[in-house]
């Protein structure tokens, strides 16, 4: 807190900018750009990929599974900016479409994970006692399973597909992440305003929703962004192993393991295009997430 000590009865009008309600988001973005240029750049790059994913169908110059016998394994050119694969499909179109799929999977899975973390973390952290005990031993047990092995087992039982991946990865990361939310909730719960809310006669759901959850929001935002990057990687890993979204739907992991690996020497662009996209987007979201973490740290609160 940098509230000037001894300000006393004098209202600190200086810090009351008249345009306060204007836009906290806009002020935050400006601060991000000024203090964390790398993070801001990461955010911008990620936003670019996100938009590419959203508008993939419009942006893709060719059909995803449109083959052409004349243009097989063509290197990048004006006609095919990222080249073509062994059956003449346009790599740019496939990378765009694969990016779309990565974005959908990662946002849904990270969203689900954050929601699961929030529910478990808040219940466990706020109510404590026996409920906390039971939930946390469950989380302990869950975390003893190795992620990848669990994924492979479940996918091989229920079969590969986008929904399965979203649900499994969402649960997997959600349950593990609940620890972080729980810790944050406990520290908020012990602050006086949480007790004060009780003392004015508020019910637990109201206290949770109005007082606890808004105060763990920074943690959730950071959790979400880091999970997005992790899910993209996991999805690519599963596709690479052949357990992801099944072909012919293009995925980055699938492109790497299929045509990318087989034709690496004949057409390096086949591996480079999805591989670079994957690397760049995960790097971008990670630096962005780190920057958010630094800026949203509760200890920095009020000092702005």
């Amino acid at each position: 807190m940098t509230t000037p000590a001894g300000a006393g009865a004098v209202p600190d009008l200086a810090s009351t900018s008249p345009s306060f309600g204007q836009s906290r988001v806009a002020r935050f973005v400006r601060k991000l750009a000024r203090d964390k240029p790398l993070g801001a750049a990461g955010g911008a790059v990620f936003l670019f990929f996100l938009l590419c994913g959203v508008f993939a169908d419009v942006l893709a110059p060719y059909g995803v599974n449109e083959t052409s016998l004349e243009h097989r394994l063509e290197p990048p050119s004006l006609e095919f900016p990222f080249g073509t694969d062994h059956i003449g499909r346009d790599v740019l179109s496939r990378v765009l479409k694969g990016g779309q799929l990565s974005m959908v999977v990662s946002f849904c899975a990270a969203g689900l994970a954050t929601l699961v973390s929030l529910v478990i973390g808040v219940l466990s952290g706020y109510f404590g006692g026996r409920l906390d005990m039971v939930l946390q031993r469950f989380v302990d047990a869950w975390m003893t399973f190795p992620d990848l092995v669990l994924l492979i087992v479940v996918v091989s039982v229920v079969g590969p597909g986008m929904v399965q991946i979203i649900v499994i990865v969402g649960l997997l990361y959600g349950i593990a992440g609940s620890r972080i939310v729980r810790g944050a909730v406990i520290s908020v719960r012990e602050q006086t305003f949480a007790h004060a809310a009780q003392s004015i006669g508020a019910q637990p759901p109201h206290i949770l929703w109005r007082h606890i959850v808004p105060n763990v929001m920074p943690v959730l935002i950071v959790l979400f962004t880091t999970r997005v990057g992790a899910v993209i990687l996991v999805e690519a890993g599963l596709s690479f192993l052949g357990l992801g979204v099944p072909p012919p739907a293009p995925t980055w992991g699938g492109m790497l393991s299929g045509t990318g690996r087989t034709y690496m020497y004949l057409g390096p662009w086949l591996a480079l295009a999805p591989g670079l996209c994957l690397t760049i987007v995960v790097y971008a979201i990670n630096v962005f997430g780190d920057a958010l973490r630094d800026l949203l740290d509760p200890r920095m609160r009020g000092s702005r």
Binding site: M1, T3, P4, A5, G6, A7, G8, A9, V10, P11, D12, L13, S15, T16, F20, G21, G128, G129, Q191, T192, F193, H195, A196, A197, Q198, S199, I200, G201, A202, Q203, H206, R210, H211, P214, N215, M217, R301, G302
Partner: protein, 334 residues
């Protein structure tokens, strides 16, 4: 005189501790505490840290932290036992008929909600008011606690307020539903001395305007002298002396009260007067002496004190400004 608002009778609060070899043990943090507050009156509860002042306040609203339990006694608000109320019933009392002001103004406001919404919260919870009505009332309340430019500051966040201003906001929140009783738990401890006086004067002024009673918890005897009508002194979970403020200062009867008063500088003391501290440390509640809890530190201790615990009902003098009671075996005058 007879217009009793709140009566705490023989309240005991226990905290279970580690059970050793199957034997459940517990620490008694409040031991037969009795209080009475009349409508419009200010009662000060004085004592060292850990003497049970805050615990008494929390017990009134069933807010005793886990795993503590009120194991005996009653808390009667206009004859209704608050300890016997179900969770939903006590919620209707909290913030509505009895409001609380906490010690730390810096952390007792939610940093992510605007001041307006927080002040409006009790009204929204208890009065079923619409958003617009509650907002309007919040503006009035901020006006009442002398926050300049109140209407415009409704949309500000707590970090834009200084400590004193935040405590004003807390007072506004406490007054929102015009409660019968306001409990202020060391409301000025975290504030500058100059601000302390303002806040207490404001609190006193507003409670008397609303005809609310005030339970003022403090360890500052100067505060007590100026603002309290009656005083109860607590030591090791018990009330050891209870009297009108004038009587307590003019004629302190319990050796602990005398010790407290002697350890505080007074304006009318000459520069040569030395402050006399009370010897020793407050006792461990888990391991209280058999007799009077104050006996190991008491300058006038005698044999009976070490064996038998004195009760509060030994009336020193029934005066026209209420009874003067104390729990001590010693002589009334030193």
């Amino acid at each position: 005189m007879s217009d009793t608002l709140l009566r705490v009778e023989d309240l005991c609060v226990d905290f279970p501790t580690e059970s050793r070899r199957g034997r459940r043990r517990s620490v008694r943090v409040l031991d037969h505490v009795s209080l009475e507050i009349e409508r419009g009156e200010t009662l000060a509860l004085v004592g060292e840290s850990g003497s049970g002042k805050s615990m008494t306040a929390l017990s009134i609203l069933q807010l005793i932290p886990e795993p503590g339990r009120a194991t005996a006694g009653e808390v009667l608000l206009e004859g209704r036992d608050l300890l016997a109320l179900r969770e939903s019933e006590i919620r209707a009392v909290r913030g509505n008929r009895v409001a609380m002001i906490f010690q730390e103004p810096m952390s007792s406001l939610n940093p992510v909600l605007t001041i307006g919404r927080q002040v409006a919260e009790p009204i929204r919870l208890h009065r079923k008011a619409s958003k617009a009505e509650a907002r309007e009332r919040a503006a009035e309340l901020l006006e009442a606690v002398s926050i300049p430019d109140a209407a415009r500051r409704l949309d500000d966040y707590p970090h834009q307020f200084s400590g004193g201003m935040r405590q004003r906001v807390m007072i506004a929140m406490a007054l929102a539903c015009e409660p019968d009783l306001i409990i202020a738990d060391e409301p000025t401890t975290a504030l500058d001395v100059t601000v302390q006086a303002q806040i207490l004067a404001l609190l006193k002024d507003l409670t008397s305007r609303l005809q609310s009673a005030l339970l003022l918890i403090t360890h500052d005897l100067g505060v007590v002298a100026r603002y309290a009508d009656r005083v109860s002194v607590m030591y090791a979970g018990r009330i050891v002396e209870s009297a009108s403020a004038g009587k307590l200062y003019g004629n302190p009867s319990h050796p602990y009260t005398r010790g407290l008063l002697q350890s505080v500088p007074r304006l009318d003391d000459s520069a040569q007067t030395r402050l006399v501290p009370i010897d020793g440390q407050p006792p461990d509640l888990a391991n209280l002496p058999t007799g009077c809890a104050f006996s190991p530190r008491c300058p006038q201790v005698h044999d009976k004190c070490r064996l038998e615990r004195p009760e509060l009902d030994s009336v020193v003098a029934a005066t026209d400004d209420g009874p003067h009671t104390r729990a001590c075996w010693g002589p009334e005058q030193p």
